[in-house]
Symmetry: C2
């Protein structure tokens, strides 16, 4: 059975070959392919609010991070990144992690999730996020230099997460006020 | 005559009241309104590649920063932020700084400029960026908690800057290859 739990620095050691392969491929992530293991660990584990792994019988299958996508008046929107090991591809690990991250985001007080730069040629990811309820709300022309395809577009994908019907603000005026939003948003983020 | 030059730490002292007022207003920037002066200086001067001021007869009129919007295969797209002092409003300082930043971006080797989160209710900014050639390529629903208006949308605005016709990649196949792009992009960024 696949389990999802917080990542430890030792887990990152095991995860590093996957991270490195993904970044060096230059097909999906806008990370510097020359990142050292330490820089990568800081980026993946230190900057985010939460970093988790998916594993089964002690075997690492993938990892994801969750963080606020902006500060202050934008900190009700979070951002996540997911990576799956080569061996675990096609087993639904990305879907599982994305579903897990949406619940974790809600539990952490976020109201929405945004992917800033989904490489448009990454059809598997675009298809999966769409199936999981993310809307393509933007298209960045030629924003990514794909190693094989050259300049390709990136998509901005967005999903409103809150259980409360804050999306229907006109019908629910009591929920628009900043005070109400902040009461939802300003829960302590770290457990 | 208005001049634009690199910002010094002393300039930031003079700029701080403007920065603070903009951030506390919570109408345009997604910065934490509780930022200290030191944190704000790091954000505005240390994280970016360039930070400049506009001044006239020693009077500070505004400031802007320029930085890469992403790393690795996304580092040909830059991002800027602009702030104008209250006293200098309506004098075209934002336009001047934005035009200056586009040239600086080209000179620094960037191929495009992206604004990740223009608060949709900030009609002056949206109108100005549109006039200066930025296209609205995305709309983030309710991504900003406006102090007066509650949840409002943000726009993603984008402008291709390169003089070379790399935008017409189908007509110019020689320009798509990663090697060609990188030769444009990997110029040293700091002078």
């Amino acid at each position: 059975m696949i389990q999802i739990r917080p990542m430890t620095p030792e887990d990152f050691e095991r995860f590093w070959p996957t991270f490195q392969a993904v970044v060096i491929a230059q097909e999906t992530y806008a990370y510097d392919p020359a990142l050292t293991q330490e820089q990568a660990r800081d980026l993946w584990m230190k900057a985010p609010l939460h970093t988790l792994i998916a594993e089964e019988d002690g075997q690492l299958l993938g990892s994801y991070y969750l963080k606020a996508n902006a500060a202050g008046p934008g900190n009700h929107v979070c951002n996540c990144g997911y990576m799956v090991t080569d061996a675990a591809r096609g087993r639904g690990v990305a879907r599982l992690m994305c579903e897990h991250s949406q619940q974790l985001a809600r539990d952490s007080g976020f109201l929405a999730m945004q992917f800033n730069s989904v490489v448009a040629s990454n059809e598997v990811a675009v298809g999966l996020w769409s199936k999981l309820g993310f809307e393509t709300v933007g298209r960045l022309p030629k924003a990514y230099r794909h190693a094989r395809l050259g300049l390709v577009d990136c998509l901005v994908m967005f999903k409103w997460l809150a259980d409360e019907p804050v999306a229907k603000e006109l019908a629910q005026p009591k929920l628009i006020g900043r005070k109400n939003i902040e009461s939802v948003v300003s829960r302590p983020r770290r457990k």
